[in-house]
């Protein structure tokens, strides 16, 4: 059995009894020497060892008023009480054996603990929902960023203008993170619009991509425009999507036009 590493003395006793270890006299005496235990009936491993608070190491933090440790007797009969180790501790007793005051205390304690658990679960759940809404669904700034970024990176005109290994990133934060995407959400004529911009970097040149999307009646974002503006001179504008004629909130909507 593991002898080392026990810092909590009551835990050691629980360990012995849970496992129903049959201890030899030598082990018992070694344990007693190590853990300052006085055995009331020394020499017989089948007998109970009674521990009182004075018998426990005075340096130990846990003070136990009285603990009965039973070792399995060689006759092999299994007493139920062999399992219950710390008998004076009301924490470990079944609910039906408690007095009324203790029952009230137990119920109160359990309900407070349960409340904490529910609160924690609720907080975690709402955080997960927020993460889902903001990161994983398409109808979020990051969802649109992922999609628009893919369109830009796959476009041959953008690749030609900037040079082949293309990279996309957002605003640079102070700590070298470039994940944040600058965006504004506004409502106009009952439709929710979102504008966002991100940056592209190729081998030769940098560019800024501008996107605007509008929520349609199915609550899905549709592109109003998506264009890439290079930074070098002369500035070039590569329009990847321009559906302003169709999604003109002003009233010219419905005219003949092409969409991507």
């Amino acid at each position: 059995m593991a002898m080392s590493g026990f810092r909590n003395y009551s835990r050691l006793r629980i360990c012995i009894c849970r496992q129903n270890v049959q201890l030899s006299d030598k082990t018992v005496s070694r344990l007693c020497a190590r853990f300052y235990i006085n055995v009331t009936a020394p020499g017989s491993h089948a007998s109970d060892i009674k521990l009182t608070s004075s018998a426990v190491n005075p340096c130990a933090k846990t003070s136990i008023t009285q603990t009965v440790v039973r070792f399995k007797s060689d006759s092999g009969q299994q007493d139920k009480r062999e399992r219950s180790v710390v008998e004076t501790d009301p924490e470990n007793r079944p609910f039906s054996e408690l007095s009324t005051a203790q029952k009230v205390g137990r119920v109160g304690k359990d309900s407070v603990l349960g409340l904490w658990i529910i609160l924690g679960l609720g907080a975690t759940g709402s955080l997960f929902y927020f993460v889902y809404r903001e990161l994983f669904s398409r109808e979020s700034p990051y969802g649109i960023y992922e999609e628009a970024m893919d369109i830009c990176l796959k476009d041959t005109r953008v690749q030609d203008a900037l040079g082949k290994p293309l990279k996309a990133h957002g605003e640079t934060s102070g700590r070298g993170r470039r994940r944040h995407i600058r965006h504004t959400i506004y409502e106009f004529q009952g439709y929710q619009h979102m504008r966002l911009q991100f940056y592209l970097k190729g081998k030769r040149e940098r560019a800024t991509a501008h996107v605007e999307v509008r929520k349609n009646d199915n609550n899905k974002y549709e592109y109003r425009y998506l264009f890439v503006e290079t930074e070098g001179f002369p500035r070039r504008v590569i329009t990847l999507k321009d559906n302003r004629a169709q999604l003109q909130t002003g009233g010219t909507a419905g005219t003949v036009g092409m969409s991507m």
Binding site: L135, G176, R244
Partner: protein, 177 residues
Amino acid sequence: MDEYTREPCPYRIVDDCGGAFSLGVIGGSIFHFIKGIKDSAKGSRLKGGFMSVTTNAPKTGGAFAQWGFTFSATDCALVALRGKEDPWNAIISGGVTGAVLSFRQGYTAMFGSAVIGCVLLALIEGVSIAMTKMSAEQFKPVSPLEQMPEDPSQLGPAPAGFASFFGGGSSTEKEFQ
């Protein structure tokens, strides 16, 4: 604006490693000091607290630094591989870091800590997004008129009607000065 032109990536690994180390040392000192005080016997509590700090805080700092280094290195590798910088990088590299650091505990432990790393980083990303959102909400301009912002002038006039039909309005390319 030098940060705009400089690529953050390879240098960021060192930054993150050091930042994580100091975070671990400071946090670990506080934690282990309190723990040492609590665990010591009466009369030697302060001494026990300091002893606990000197033995354990560097270990905590080292563990944090290990985490920061692996995380940042994976993040940079992902940026280079995918060519994209987005929250997915952080989430994936959180998982990879968890797996790498528990490599010697076997596959089950690797999988478990990979999942924990992913979830943790996703939550951190969520919290940081929420923070930026809240701070952005404060500076939101309140316009008296419900007005649509101007479309960017670089885009030119909106292709209307048949013009887009012939000119291929949805895919134009032009130069101007």
